[in-house]
C-alpha cells in the first residue's frame, strides 16, 4: 500500500461537511494512504452552476482544478464529496471524449497560462475504499467493533449516480440498491438494516431554495430508518448528511413526528471502529444531533 492521491476537498470541507473531511483524512491515513490537497482548489460549481452561467463556465471551474492537479503529478485525483466527484469526473470525461470541449476549456485555461489534457483519473473516495483498499483490508483495520449498533446505510444520489456502474467510474456498484455502504457498516461490526430508501433522493440540492417541497422526501427516508429501528443513519454524501440532519425539526413540525436520528458519515463510523480519536479523527462533535451511541463506543 502506501499509495498517494491528489485530494480535492471541495467547499463543504470548509463548511457543513468538515466532519467528512476530517474523518476521511483520518481513515485514509490509517489505511496507509497519503492525500495531497490540490494547492489552490476552487469550487466545482455544484449542481446549480449550469443554471447560472451555463455549461462551459461551470466546466471551466473543474478544468482549473484538474490542471492544477496535473501540475502536482500523475497520481489519481480523489474526492469525498458526491457533488465534487460528479462535476470533476464529468468534466474530465468530457475533456477525454469531446474534442470540442477539450479545445474550448483549454482555450479558457490558456487565459491563465494553464492547460489540461484529460489524462488524470478522478475517483470517489468510496470507490477507492472498495476497489483499492478492499473490504478485507477494511475489516482488518477494525480494532474496535461497533457491534450492537443498528445503522441505516443511506447512499443518496450522486455518490453512485450516474457513474458508479460505468467502467471509468470504477464499476464498483449498482444504481438502485448498491451494497457497498452496507458492507462498510457490517465491516465495523455494526448491523446494516435493509434500507430500501438507500438511494432515494433527499432533495438536498434544492432544499435551501424550496425546503417545503423537499421535506416529504426526507420524511420518507427518516420514517423508514425509524420504523426499522436504526440507531443512526450513515451516509457518504455531505449534502445528504447536512440536509437530513438539519431538517428534522421542520419535518417534525410539518408531520407531527419526533425524529431525532443522528446522521453520521461512513468515515466517522470507520474512524471509531479503527480505534481512532472520537473528536480529533471522527469529528463526532460536529454532528448537530449527537451520535451518542457511537460516541459511547469510541475508545
Amino acid at each position: 500500500m502506501g499509495k498517494k492521491f491528489t485530494f480535492y476537498p471541495g467547499c463543504s470541507s470548509q463548511g457543513s461537511g468538515q466532519h467528512l473531511d476530517t474523518s476521511t483524512r483520518a481513515v485514509m491515513a490509517k489505511l496507509g494512504y497519503e492525500l495531497e490537497d490540490i494547492a489552490d482548489w476552487n469550487c466545482c460549481g455544484a449542481s446549480v452552476g449550469e443554471l447560472a452561467a451555463g455549461h462551459l463556465p461551470t466546466a471551466a471551474l473543474s478544468a482549473r482544478n484538474l490542471a492544477q492537479a496535473k501540475e502536482q503529478g500523475d497520481q489519481d485525483v480523489m474526492t469525498a464529496c458526491a457533488a465534487c466527484y460528479l462535476n470533476t469526473h464529468a468534466v474530465n470525461e468530457e475533456i477525454r471524449d469531446n474534442e470540442q470541449t477539450k479545445n474550448d476549456l483549454n482555450e479558457a485555461l490558456g487565459a491563465a497560462g494553464k492547460s489540461y489534457d484529460g489524462s488524470l483519473h478522478v475517483r470517489h473516495a468510496c470507490e477507492v475504499l472498495v476497489n483499492d483498499v478492499g473490504m478485507d483490508a477494511i475489516k482488518g483495520a477494525v480494532s474496535n467493533s461497533l457491534s450492537g449498533l443498528k445503522v441505516a446505510g443511506y447512499v443518496g444520489c450522486q455518490t453512485v449516480r450516474p457513474f458508479a456502474g460505468t467502467e471509468r467510474g470504477g464499476s464498483y456498484d449498482e444504481y438502485d440498491q448498491p451494497h457497498f455502504l452496507d458492507d462498510f457498516i457490517n465491516a465495523t461490526g455494526a448491523e446494516a438494516i435493509d434500507f430500501e430508501n438507500r438511494t432515494s433522493c433527499c432533495g438536498g440540492s434544492v432544499s435551501v431554495m424550496k425546503p417545503d417541497q423537499t421535506l416529504h422526501l426526507m420524511h420518507k427516508i427518516l420514517s423508514e430508518a425509524q420504523a426499522k429501528g436504526a440507531d443512526m443513519i450513515a451516509t457518504p454524501c455531505p449534502l445528504c448528511q447536512t440536509n437530513v440532519e438539519m431538517y428534522q425539526d421542520k419535518i417534525n413540525k410539518k408531520y407531527g413526528t419526533s425524529f431525532n436520528i443522528p446522521v453520521v458519515f461512513h468515515t466517522q463510523l470507520l474512524a471509531v471502529a479503527f480505534g481512532l480519536d472520537a473528536t480529533k479523527d471522527a469529528a463526532l462533535n460536529q454532528n448537530i444531533i449527537p451520535a451518542d451511541k457511537l460516541k459511547a463506543k469510541a475508545k
Binding site: 457543513s16 449542481s47 452561467a53
Partner: protein
Amino acid sequence: MNAISPNPTQKYDLSFARWVRDNIDGGERMNMCMQCGVCSGSCPLSDQMDLGPRKIFQMVRAGMKEAVLKSNSFYQCVSCYNCVVRCPRQVPVKYILHGLGRLAVQEGYQPKSNVENARFADAFWWSVTTFGKTDERLVTAKYYFSGGLMNGIKLGLGNLKTALGMIKTKRMHLGAPHKAKNRGELKAILAKAVEIQARHEGEA
C-alpha cells in the same frame, strides 16, 4: 431578451426540436427518446413538476416551445440522476432539463424573480466568482435577500435554529469567507469561458 434560439415569440416552433438537439447539452440524444416514461416515473419530484420529462420531450418535438419554456419542471429537479441512469435510450434527461431551464430564464420565459433556483444559482455563482469557493452562509443569505428584504428576514428567521446548530458545531463559518488564493487567475479563466460560450451561441 437574448434571442439566441430562433423565433423566440412563435407559439409552435417546428425547428425547436432541432435547435434543442444542436444547442442543449445532451440534446443530441433527445431524439432517441421512445416515450417510455421511465424518467417521469423515476423522478422523485415529478409530482411537483407541471410537465414530466417525457412529456417535455414530446412537446419539444411537437414544436411547443413556449409551453415548454414556461414549465416549472426544470427548477424542481434535484439532480438525483435517477432518470439519467434509468433511461433505456441513454437520454441524459437531467442535463437537457437544466439546459432548457437556463434557456427559459435567458429568453425571459421565466422571470428570474419567480425562479428560486435561478436566484440561488446567481447567488452561488456570485460567491464562486468572487471567492473561488462557495461560502454557504453568504450564499444562503444572499439568496434569501434576493427575493426582497422582508422575504429574506422571514426565511432567515425560519431557519434560525438550523443556522444556530451549524454555528455551534462550527460547520457554519462566521468570519471572512474562505477564498481561493489566485482569484485573478480563476476570473480570467471564467471570463474566457463565458466569452467562448457566447461565441458558440452566436454561431448557432
